[in-house]
Amino acid sequence: MKLKKILPQLATLFVVVLIFGFFTMNAQLNMENRGIDFGYGFLTQESSFDVQFSLIEYSGSDSYGRAYLVGLLNTLLVSVLGIIICTIIGVIIGIARLSPNYLIRTTAAWYVEFFRNIPLLLQIFFWYYAALRALPLPQDAEAIFGASYLTIKGFYTPSLIWENLDIFIYSVIAAIVAIVFVRIHAKKLRENQGKHLPVLNISIAILFVLPLLTFLFGGVNVGYETPELKQLAKTSFKFEGGLSIPPELLSLVIALSLYTATFVAECVRAGIQGVGKGQREAAASIGLNRKQVLNLIIMPQALRIIIPPTTNQYLNLTKNSSLAAAIAYPDLVLVFAGTALMQTGKAIEIVSITMLTYLTLSLSISFFMNWYNAKIAIVEK
């Protein structure tokens, strides 16, 4: 009996060890033959390649390690922007799918069917190579709201120039902390004395007043810089100054968020439909008003159904952002697993670092989700 349990395990272990051993041995032999040594020392070496778009200061004289950081930050930037936009679109479409209005319902359904059934790579290609290429040249671009320009070279918009930005950020953090305290206090008041504080109004007031005060007393000041059209050669124009968003980032964010929004919409719809009609009726019958029914009964239950699959979609979006490599947006895969790998030839090290990065990202989010799920799960008696 015991043998029956141990034998298959030993066999599995043996096979796994055998495969790994075989691979390691070959890798060692191959590297010896080609004169490559294994090691992560290259991360501190000078990279000597340039990256088109970077959130932090970067030039060819920086190390491979910093190139990795540039790629990682670019990946995170696309993911965060995509997640925000896909949530907004997804929630709207998800609610629209349950609308009593036939036209809205059908339009939303077709949106989902349309964007969900076309491969994401094709959508990214479409936006980058076809749709954004149809935009005007810088010199022909018309101003949007007087100061922003959507051109074939990207989107140009005024950038804000801050004085004493750190003080402003501290004040926002302080405001958030204050709001948390107000909420705790309000909850205590409600549970102990049954008094209701207008928490939302107080929160909004704090969030506006505190940062506003820093403008008056903290020496915070904000100016702006508008993009200006510069002539480089006779027919070559370029915008300078302001905030510029390259077309790669633009098309990637558009494609990712439109595609992922369809899945988010389905999660939202399932969540709202998942709350039984009886819940609404029961809440109404004990005298809660419409707002209370929505806030205290429907939303908490719907969110419990919506959040786990939606997080999964956010994770998918983050992983899908690696498709950036196909249109030369300098994300982690392109900068590190592309350019850096080509230059150093350290295939094993670089691919393993890239995979481990994504793995860490995914696993930490799914651990957090498991913890969150366990916390909010309804305890059935």
Binding site: N26, N117, A325, S362, L363
Partner: protein, 423 residues
Amino acid sequence: MSTLNLLNPSKDNLQSNLYLGSFLVGISLLDVFLNSFLKLNVTSFLPSIISIILPFLLGMFGLHLMRIEFSGIKNLDRLNKNINTNNFNAALTLLIIFLIIKAIPPVMSWMILDANISGDSKDACTGSGACWTYIKVWFKRFMYGMYPNEQIWRVNLAFIFLVVLAFVGFITPQKYRNFLTLYYVVIYPIIAFILIYYLISGGEFGLEWVETGAWGGLSLTFIVSFFSLIFCFPLGMALALGRRTELPIIKYVSVGFIEFWRGVPLITVLFMSSVMFPMFLPEDFFMDKLVRVIIAISLFEAAYVAEVIRGGLQALPRGQYDAAKSLGMGYWKMHIFVILPQALKLVIPGMANTFLALVKDTPLIFVVGLAELAGMLQMAKTNPKWLGYAMEGYVFAAIIFWIICYAMSKYSYNLELKYKTDR
């Protein structure tokens, strides 16, 4: 009899409200229609902003007048209930209708009216619309990649065989039904492999050898997704069972495998298969790039398949396991005859979704230099003779993929409905 009460439409002044309302809505739609189809701005004498908003305001007021509850007219009640419940809904309704009317003429003229399909060079495309000539000229490349033109019948023949053989299950006599699983899991893949190896790849029986680098287009999409699908299914099943055993080593090896592949993007897996994997093989051992890619995708999808099957295994009531054990069945007997047949039936929709994702993922093989449909588009788009027709190519590919994926998702939805009632 009654004065016209415009602000509170009710049953008392049903007729007048209804006529006036539908008249106003009709006018507003007509205005937009003329504007969009005939480029005729009837209200051009008004200031531009009013001229733009006017149809919307008229429509809103018309719908407001028509919003009469329990009018007794069946069609009006249905209209009100579906698109005209309140002002907000009415506004959205109008906007959607306007948008559709506005969008039809440019789309129609680009796709059909001003488009060209005759001729066989760029010069034939003179209209302002799409240049379908481009698709026509490149069609064989989009479907078969760089496969030699005179050999294309081999690809077609192989696919026809595969499709015919896949339908064997529907005509099998009842007597042999028990062997169907064996057929689909073991025999069919082997036949498919032999067909593709000897017919598409060639090299034997007097057929010219065509290297995998020349394969491409939509047929490559099918080949890659077909083989990945066949390989990932048994592997995924094994992993799902492995994750549910009580034997710790097998369990944690399965968990590690599944979580690893689910945690990384496919593109890095493909990079691994093309640049890292050759380092792990003996130096004189050559493995074709296509084979490496298919292995990589299979391993990747197997992890997702495993999780879907695990869902099915977990959904089965405990009583099924207990009953099977009480009949004296061992682990394998229990799973093969009792658990898996039920669990697999439960997960059919989930599996269909996973396979759908697989088909949608195959264009990614373009990053390692295999040109299926999306890859061929990239190639065709940079051809100096055919610059500037990217849009047509993407629209064409999008339509093809959309039809395939939409059909699959509808099919899986029908399966879901079919098996829902069974339990």
